[in-house]
């Protein structure tokens, strides 16, 4: 998508009403039955409101024109009319009942999570989503893939700027997918407009939602509940594929999990050089830590502590590992032990202990994956 050129787009808005057709002014095209029903309900309510607006304000503007003092109109003296008052109390009630009926039906539909074909557990973290296919034990963490540098440059270029992830949620078409949602830190909200689903993910509680996608496609959404600094940067991508493709995808993922596990297992036994750990660690740091602690390691005073010169980073290795692995409850500091593989945790800790002005003396300056793996038992 081209970057918007300011003067041009203003001219577009002001000069060519036809161009408005190009701009989204309504709910996105629905991809599920529920989303379609919501779309229709919104259209119905909108037209009713539009009708009432005309019925009320046409007489008002007529009065403003015909009964103006400048036209010499003298004021009447009436101040009451019981029949009218009753009429305009009762008629709105009837209209409201007409609107409430389909809405009630739809609520009951949306709340009916029974008879689902599969269940996905959605966990909100600051600031990424984690999906777990409960029937298969398959788990994946989904991060925004728009590079931080592109955002900071102020010049968006990606085709799906801010709405792209490294690993989407993949679901089969035609299946009723039940979501169970929770969060680990603060409240998030999982929202994909085309699916007609928005459900808050609340730490300590499990909430439910469901959808059934008709046709294959990619559907994008975002976190909808303010969850801190990265709130604007935790997109959701759902890819609906045919059941056959889904089965193939799942098999591939399961195989991938086995490979990853084997690699991780091998990594535990392996001793990495500091250069290897530093290179990997820098990538991990920028993807996971820099939002708060900044790529300069300086943090944001008062909100997010500096890594540069930090007592924990420059202190005993175990305390540093503990903080990264288990997080700090009550803050945005995640328990990365649950989110990252051992070698990444080892790499990022090594990176922090040897970057900026931090120069931890050997041998405490290097953390190997085996040390992290030891914590998992």
């Amino acid at each position: 998508m081209n970057r918007v050129k300011p003067p041009f787009s203003i001219a577009l808005i002001l000069a060519a009403p036809g161009a408005l057709a190009e701009m989204a002014i309504n709910l996105p095209p629905p991809a599920t039955g529920i989303a379609r029903d919501i779309y229709d309900l919104h259209t119905l309510v909108l037209w009713i409101c539009f009708g009432i607006f005309l019925v009320v304000f046409l007489p008002m503007f007529y009065a403003l024109w015909r009964h103006r003092k400048a036209a010499g109109h003298a004021a009447a003296g009436f101040r009451d009319n019981t029949r009218l008052e009753v009429l305009w109390t009762v008629v709105p009630v009837l209209i409201l009942i007409g609107m409430a009926w389909p809405a009630t039906q739809l609520i009951l539909d949306m709340k009916n999570v029974g008879d689902s074909d599969m269940t996905v557990k959605v966990t909100g973290h600051q600031w990424r989503w984690e999906y777990e296919y409960l029937d298969d034990g398959l788990r994946l963490v989904s991060n925004m893939s728009t590079p931080r540098a592109e955002i900071d440059s102020g010049r968006p270029q990606s085709a799906h700027y801010l709405l792209e992830v490294d690993r989407p949620l993949v679901v089969p078409t035609g299946s009723k997918v039940r979501l169970v949602l929770t969060a680990t830190d603060v409240i998030h909200s999982w929202w994909v407009p085309a699916l007609g689903v928005k459900q808050d993910a609340i730490p300590g509680f499990i909430k439910e939602a469901w959808f059934r996608v008709d046709k294959p496609g990619t559907f994008r959404g975002q976190c909808a509940e303010l969850c801190g600094m990265g709130h604007g940067f935790m997109p959701i991508v759902v890819e609906a594929v045919t059941p056959e493709q889904f089965a193939a995808w799942k098999a591939g993922q399961m195989a991938g999990v086995a490979t990853t596990r084997a690699t991780a297992q091998a990594a535990i036994g392996k001793v990495f050089s500091i250069a290897e750990l530093m290179a990997r660690g820098e990538q991990v740091y920028n993807a996971n830590c820099a939002v708060c602690h900044q790529s300069t390691g300086l943090g944001i005073p008062g909100a997010f502590p500096a890594m540069d010169g930090s007592a924990i980073v420059n202190g005993p290795k175990l305390a540093h590992i503990d903080r990264v692995f288990n997080g700090k409850p009550g803050t945005s500091m995640q328990a990365f032990g649950k989110l990252l593989p051992d070698q990444d945790i080892a790499a990022v800790i090594t990176y922090e202990r040897n970057s900026w002005h931090n120069r931890v003396a050997a041998p405490d300056n290097i953390v190997q994956p085996a040390e992290i793996a030891a914590l998992r038992h």
Partner: protein, 531 residues
């Protein structure tokens, strides 16, 4: 009254800063409230300018995400607690005693204290921008657990809210006692001016819900520092309980900010239609029903929090029901205009714009009341559009209309009608350019409270930003027009508005420092407090 009498005896009072610091005079305190409100309006408005500047284009250009969240949070808190609520209390201070023929508020010293709490609270809140970590950035709704994560600014905000809440409660008690006890003989409750009625009901709402807000932020404070777990699931608490308690305050709060606006509009429209308010009794009942219903709709702010179907349906119905009394008010305003003799001075323009634009906000409220539609629109720009139509086009336009309406009485001078009209048209047009496209943004899928957005939202954001800058700049013209009116202008005379009927217009302009020291006599055929 001759000049000598004005400057002798009880008319004398301290001058300079001491006049304002120690004043127990309802007019001085009303003026203080209004200036305080205007300054907070400009401060909170400039935060909004920064927000709109960042959102002018996709990509991060001016403001980092952390600061952006501080700006949206503080814009909301300062506009609500600093600008809109104090403005209405300012009107109440000036106008309630004048309209009911009372010499002053019932508790003049309490009145002084109620006001002077506010600048202290505002200083506390504003200075939090400069503490480590910056100001509160968890949204004006302060949802935990996010709110538990914040730094010292979050505690400063909690204390500022305590102080502002105390000020509101004391002010409300004063208004209730004044209205119930100090009406001039012969003015019955059902013959009071409608503005006084709306404030009486608003004051009861304040007394009922501000303690709830104070309690819930205190619970946040103890969760933050004293080891309680009201809102922490790990300790047996529930973050959603905060939302229930907050919105039990928050929804009546919405009406606290709109009922006095109804009162102002219901005063201005009959004046410039030169015709009595249509359906006075049903207007009073409508305001009372809105107030009562406002306690039964809170969970419509929480339709995506995972309420059971039964609760969603109950709160949807109760919310839709509010459309009925609100509709009655709009219908009655139109009926008041019908076959009037209408003229279009600045206050009338603001009142008419309020009726139209507030109705748009009402309609979008109805759309949001439908649970399934709300699931799509909750926490999007559609909601931002909705509450700005209600709070800017509803409350702020009424406040501006009220200022133009009563400035002649307060200052003794007519405001500059040409400047007033320019200010009106700039404000009314810019307000729509700013807030109308936000409906489209929300429908198309843009969440609120994000510092950066996908490029498909770029055009409407740019439009909203351009509108916002014009809207902001226009308020400087408002400031100039008000100052110009205070410093001079054509003499207003006792009653500059031909169609005005309430008691304040029987006094000279500017209203003398002490007025109605003996209760005024109402005419035998008095209707609704009309002299």
């Amino acid at each position: 009254m001759d000049a000598a009498a004005i400057h002798s005896g009880y008319q004398s009072h301290p001058t300079g800063p001491m006049r304002w610091l120690t004043s127990t005079n309802h007019k001085d305190i009303g003026t203080l409230y209004l200036w305080f409100s205007l300054s907070m309006f400009l401060v909170a408005g400039s935060l909004a300018m920064l927000i709109r500047a960042e959102l002018f284009q996709p990509g991060l250009q001016l403001v980092q995400p952390g600061l952006f969240n501080q700006l949206t949070t503080m814009h909301g808190l300062l506009m609500i607690f600093g600008a809109i609520m104090p403005a209405f209390v300012g009107f109440a201070n000036w106008q309630v005693p004048l309209m009911i023929g009372a010499p002053d508020m019932a508790f003049p010293r309490l009145n002084n204290w109620s006001f002077w709490l506010l600048p202290a609270a505002a200083c506390l809140m504003l200075s939090s921008f400069f503490v480590p970590g910056g100001a509160t950035s968890g949204g004006w709704t302060m949802y935990p657990p996010l709110y538990i994560q914040g730094g010292i600014a979050y505690d400063m905000t909690i204390f500022a809210i305590h102080i502002m809440g105390l000020s509101s409660i004391l002010g409300a008690i004063n208004i209730i006692v004044t209205i119930l006890n100090l009406r001039t003989p012969g003015m019955k409750l059902m013959t009071m001016p409608i503005f006084v009625w709306t404030w009486l009901i608003t004051a009861y709402l304040l007394v009922a819900v501000m303690p709830v807000l104070a309690s819930v932020v205190t619970m946040l404070l103890t969760d933050r520092h004293f080891g309680t777990h009201f809102f922490d699931a790990a300790g047996g608490g529930d973050p959603v309980m905060f939302q229930h308690l907050f919105w039990f305050f928050g929804h009546p709060e919405v009406y606290i900010m709109i009922l006095p606006a109804f009162g102002i509009v219901s005063t201005i429209i009959p004046t410039f239609a030169r015709k009595p308010l249509f359906g006075y009794v049903s207007m009073v009942y409508a305001v009372a029903s809105i107030a009562i219903l406002s306690f039964l709709v809170w969970a419509h702010h929480m339709f995506t929090s995972g309420l059971p179907a039964g609760a969603q349906i109950f709160f949807m119905y109760s919310t839709m029901l509010i459309a009925v009394p609100t509709g009655v008010k709009v219908f009655n305003w139109v009926a008041t205009l019908w076959r009037g003799s209408i003229s279009f001075e600045t206050p009338m323009l603001f009142a008419l714009a309020m009726v139209c634009l507030f109705t748009i906000g009402g309609f979008s409220g109805l759309v949001l009341a439908m649970v399934p539609v709300d699931v799509q629109l909750q926490d999007t720009y559609y909601v931002v559009a909705h509450f700005h139509y209600v709070l800017f086009a509803g409350a702020a336009l009424s406040i501006m209309g009220g200022i133009y309406y009563w400035l002649p009485k307060w200052t003794g001078h007519m405001y500059d009608e040409r400047l007033g009209q320019i200010h009106f048209w700039l404000t009314a047009i810019a307000c729509n350019i700013t807030f109308f496209p936000m409906h489209f943004l929300g429908l198309a899928g843009m969440p609120r409270r994000i510092p950066d957005y996908a490029p498909q939202f770029a055009d409407f954001n740019m439009m909203a930003s351009v509108g916002g800058f014009v809207l902001g700049a226009s308020q400087l013209l408002f400031l100039y027009t008000v100052i110009k009116c205070i410093r001079g202008g054509a003499a207003a005379g006792d009653k500059p508005w031909e169609g005005a009927t309430t008691l304040e217009w029987t006094l000279p302009s500017p209203a003398p420092y002490h007025s109605f020291t003996t209760p005024p006599t109402l005419e035998p055929d008095n209707h609704h407090g009309h002299a």
